[in-house]
């Protein structure tokens, strides 16, 4: 394809992103260091107080955990769907899509119903005589993780699935014909070929997690605050410049982590291609 044609293909995206992302973001980048004169006080505040460093570290940790959990849980699910006959696949994908279409607000509220003190789990525990006092499950890190994984899992499954459907099954058949066992064919042929899409899903889930605020806000305690919650909060407090500084930090952390994840992914891919797992 000619160079000019490629440029034309990029044009609409460029316009859209410049108008609705780059220009507005630039304004806010500026706000993080001009208040109204040039100052680095907001960044200094972020670095000098351990509470903010804790929040940053927690955001990365939670997002990584969610992304890895979604990948570990989601990959076999996508694989299972792929093994089904075509018609069946569509049906099963429906099951994955339905929860995805529900508002995140609603799905989060459902967890309140499930995990509350008078909630479903506690009621069942009491009925079975396993607990006399209701357990505190809501407003804990566990609740945030369970809900975030549940909310983001369909995205990882769909991305894995999309990558797997592109795999030419003749390759696996060929491997089988050449004497590979099913397990070998999987590890040597199927897994490497699906790795790229799986990593894409992992990165998407990671990125989305980094920006989550509804779920930690509704299901977490004060110890589960993430950067996006802080930003939301500071914006509500009208501390624009501090919020802007937090946003810049979130951006830098996320991009840095993605580069790291991609790099790690490439290393992994090379190892897998060389010698299997």
């Amino acid at each position: 394809m000619k160079f000019r044609q490629i440029l034309w293909l990029f044009l609409p995206a460029t316009l859209l992103l410049v108008a609705f992302i780059a220009a507005p973001s630039f304004d806010l980048f500026r706000a993080s260091v001009f208040d109204p004169d040039f100052t680095t006080e907001h960044f200094e505040r972020l670095i000098n107080r351990s509470v903010y460093l804790d929040v940053m570290w927690r955001t990365i940790r939670v997002s990584l955990t969610v992304a890895v959990l979604c990948t570990l849980i989601g990959y076999p699910v996508a694989f299972f769907i792929n093994l089904q006959p075509r018609r069946r696949q569509t049906l099963l994908l429906f099951l994955i899509l339905i929860p995805m279409w529900m508002s995140i607000l609603i799905r989060t509220y459902a967890w309140i119903v499930i995990l509350g003190r008078d909630g479903l789990v506690n009621q069942m525990l009491a009925m079975l005589g396993l607990a006399t006092e209701p357990m505190q499950m809501l407003y804990t890190s566990g609740a945030v993780l369970a809900a975030m994984v549940q909310i983001l899992l369909p995205i990882q499954i769909l991305t894995c699935y999309a990558a797997m459907t592109e795999i030419d099954f003749d390759l696996i058949r060929a491997a089988r014909v050449l004497g590979a066992r099913p397990r070998q064919a999987l590890a040597r042929v199927f897994l490497p070929l699906s790795l790229d899409g799986t990593l894409t899903g992992l990165v998407i889930v990671f990125m989305l997690s980094m920006g989550f605020f509804i779920t930690p806000a509704l299901l977490g305690g004060r110890q589960d605050t993430m950067i996006a919650n802080l930003i939301e909060f500071q914006v509500q407090r009208l501390n624009w410049s501090f919020a802007a500084a937090l946003g810049v930090v979130l951006l830098v952390l996320t991009v840095g982590m993605i580069v790291a994840l991609r790099g790690a992914g490439k290393l992994l891919a090379r190892r897998v291609l060389k010698g299997g797992l």
Partner: protein
Amino acid sequence: MHIMKPSLLLTGYFWLIVAYMIFPALIVIPVSFSSSEFLRFPPEDFGLRWYGVYFTDPVWIAATVTSFRVAVLSTVIATTVGTMTGLAIIRSPTHAQAPLTYATTIPIVIPHIFIALGVFILALRLDLTDNEVALAFAHAAVAMPFVVLITSAAIRQIDPTIERAARVLGAGPFRAFRVATLPPLLPAMVAAAIFAFFVSFDELIIAQFLMKGSETLPMRIWADLRLDISPVVAAVSGLLIVVTTVALACAEILRRRAISTLAP
């Protein structure tokens, strides 16, 4: 297609995970049939009270219609622009692909509240506040990177030599694309479009800043949850589950038809 049969263990695992994903959806349904003032489980009295509220309240209906309109327009924009971009990335020189992917997908990492603030200022300058089209474009800008990621992953698997062959055989660039690249790309595009729709339909913060007079559905839900928590929210999600299941079924049927007519 059968290369191996899934083991019993894998089958059981699959249904366990499906239950984990869907269970919260199911729990919302009995709550929606409660006639109590508060969200409570299990509901004490059953009735259609909150469905009645939803259907007779012009505010809820208007919010639903607005959200739908915005999401459809936004999906069209995001899918078109995103697929073009995905195509452009994969057809670029190899060493340029990674930086181009970063450049076009970086918006994902920008918190929505930031985009919301920025776009709000922009919209004020251009007198576009309370404008659904502006909101749809903003949503499209947010959703497009996902479309790029999903479609470019798919395009990478498609053999470009087929399209080149079509060109050599005399097809124009568009026709070559339509015949050689589009059909295998379509499932990824549909997945991307569904995703884009979901991004817009569920997006709260940008809408809240940009829309003044009219409300979108998430704005309505958020307002309800914050100020007036009532099971009408559960009724809305109950309805959404039914409607989307039907809509997805229709979309799937259409997609299959499209593929069978396009196939050479």
